[in-house]
Amino acid sequence: MREEKRLPLGRQVLLQILCIVVALYVLYPILWIVGMSLDATNTLRPSTLFPPALSLQAYQHVLAKPTDNPVTFFTLARNSLFLAVGVAFFSVLIGVSAAYIFSRFDFRLRRVLMIAILAVLMLPGIATLAPLFVLLNQFKFTLGDSTFNLRASLLGVGLAMTSGALPFAIWNLKGYLDTIPKDLAEAAMIDGASFNQVFFRIILPLARPALAVTFFLGFLGGWTEFAISWQFLTDPQQFTLAMALFNMVGQYASDTSWSWFAAMALMIALPVALIYLLFQKQLVSGLAVGAVK
């Protein structure tokens, strides 16, 4: 071990200034939005950078009725949660066994299937919006007075989102499973473990960081998904947080107070930030592996 080199004071100060400038760039929008969400003056547009008095009334307002639509924050959050958890859970559940096969076994069609998945991965979600919209719109049932249209339901949005999330989950999980040494499975097999036992008792527990990362990325995608929900959904009771937030900015939101908007933005960001901080260690190692792969 070599001893820690002391940094000369002049260089220390110079580097500290650089670090602080970067920190201010990062923090400026965040501090602004936090300040605005606590603004007690309840004006439409703030004319000072920081609020003169603080209160939580913006949060109160947003929890009850964030937009002009008659929906509460909790209804919007429930819909977003349904999409986020559903998409994340099913893409990991369905993806992991396929990822394992792609990672460990060579068989005919392997190359073809992998290239097909990779090609789909390259496509942005919006590139399949038109056919999914048209196809899902064909699943309509009428029961008495009510009509169920798969396209205009959260289930339909979830299906459309899984269409892009699943190939990503397979690819991401395969990248991690490749790094698990083969000897582990081989040793277990020599001890008499079956194919399924190896998968469930050895591979899955070892793949936990990758499962967490893939789930989290799916969750993040679902929690803030905008383009598909905005195109598919028509009933305000099914709207999501992202759609409400979009309704609160821009030219059609001239009667929305910016402190309501700020409170809404922070409440959407909070769960994601919390999950990230909770699973930071696993996520960072998983992300790094995924990126280096």
């Binding site: 070599r2 369905i94 079956s194």
Partner: protein, 347 residues
């Protein structure tokens, strides 16, 4: 399961290690069946919701599929390659004013590369900065710098949209506050970031909203590169630098001769990932500039979305997305070729 069955499963699953005696038809077919069983759920789901829609899209792209065909009772007319022709020779401009395919593609590429180059350069430099031995408050800076990654892009985009407000936005207020110290009236800083038509730099046909988007996306993009670069930096053996020190190499020489080649294997995939993400960065552009002014900051995916969402031109949108696929394919092959051609050593 009997003992022999277990050993059979075990040995067949060990691909490539199957002994002569056990590689019977039954053993091989058991392996095949297990593989199929594990692949089946993903294969079924993807067939229905991914691959079938993609083939359907190919067919749709040769029709005039529109709102009238949505109920499924009226079949759309086949128009051959007319949709593709309309896109490529700007016939689409009749429906989307100011649509110009060459400008759109050029802007999309310029947008991608100008962003990613800055992300990588800033990401690496800040990673090196934070890796300096003896720097105070490292932990605090790391905690702050990770914030752009943990906040959802959608939220960031809406927040910055309001920050660029000419009179009440945080940019105008902040610059105005600094200006007051020097007796400059705040009106000087009330820029129309998102809808000023005149290019801010004469001779370069990029609107002010491009620079606004650039400011946001730099904010958003460099921390990921810093994380990747930091992980790579920490795996460089310190003796390399010690040896270089003894040989009298300057810090700049050490950076280019040791740091850059050593973190390159980690940075290349991160850069390719950054290129694809930035090329398709829907939320930022749709929420902040909305492609404006006059479609000058529109990218491919936001245009495709407008065709579906505002124009209900599903057939045209399908053709547009098929084009996006081929452009992305070319872009990926090109970046692969470039990164391979510039490979300095075998990783």
């Amino acid at each position: 399961m009997t003992n022999s069955a277990i050993s059979e499963t075990a040995s067949t699953a060990l691909a490539g290690q199957v002994s002569e005696a056990e590689s019977s038809w039954w053993a091989r077919s058991l392996r095949t069946r297990t593989i199929l069983l594990y692949l089946l759920p993903a294969f079924l789901v993807m067939s229905f919701i991914t691959f079938y829609p993609l083939f359907y899209q190919l067919w749709m792209s040769t029709t005039d599929f529109g709102l009238a065909n949505l109920r499924g009772t009226v079949a759309p007319n086949s128009v051959g390659l007319q949709n593709y022709i309309d896109i490529l020779n700007n016939g689409l401009a009749a429906k989307l004013p100011n649509f110009d395919f060459v400008y759109l593609l050029g802007f999309n590429l310029w947008w991608t590369f100008s962003n990613v180059i800055i992300h990588v350069a800033m990401g690496v430099l800040i990673a090196v900065l934070l890796n300096t031995k003896g720097l105070w408050l490292k932990g605090m800076y790391r905690a702050i710098y990770v914030l752009p990654i943990i906040l959802p892009t959608l939220v960031i985009a809406t927040v910055w949209r309001n920050m660029f407000d000419p009179t009440n936005g945080a940019i105008a207020l902040g610059l105005g506050g600094i200006g007051r110290l020097f007796n400059i009236p705040p009106e000087t800083f009330q820029l129309h970031w998102l809808d000023q038509l005149q290019p801010p730099i004469p001779g370069i046909p990029l609107p002010l909203s491009y620079f606004a988007l650039l400011i946001v996306n730099i904010w958003l993009g460099w921390p990921f590169m810093t994380i990747v670069a930091t992980a790579a930096l920490q795996s460089i053996p310190p003796d390399l630098y010690e040896a270089a020190d003894m040989d009298g190499a300057t810090p700049a020489q050490q950076f280019w001769q040791i740091t850059v080649p050593m973190i390159r294997p980690a940075m290349v995939p991160a850069t390719v990932y950054g290129i694809v993400t930035t090329f398709n960065l829907f939320n930022l552009i749709y929420f902040i500039s909305a492609g404006g002014p006059l479609r000058k900051t529109e990218i491919m995916v936001t245009t495709a979305y407008r065709l579906v969402n505002e124009q209900n031109l599903y057939g045209m949108a399908a053709a547009f997305c098929v084009l996006i696929f081929f452009i992305l394919l070319a872009l990926t092959l090109l970046t692969n070729r470039i990164t391979r051609a510039t490979e300095s050593y075998d990783a």
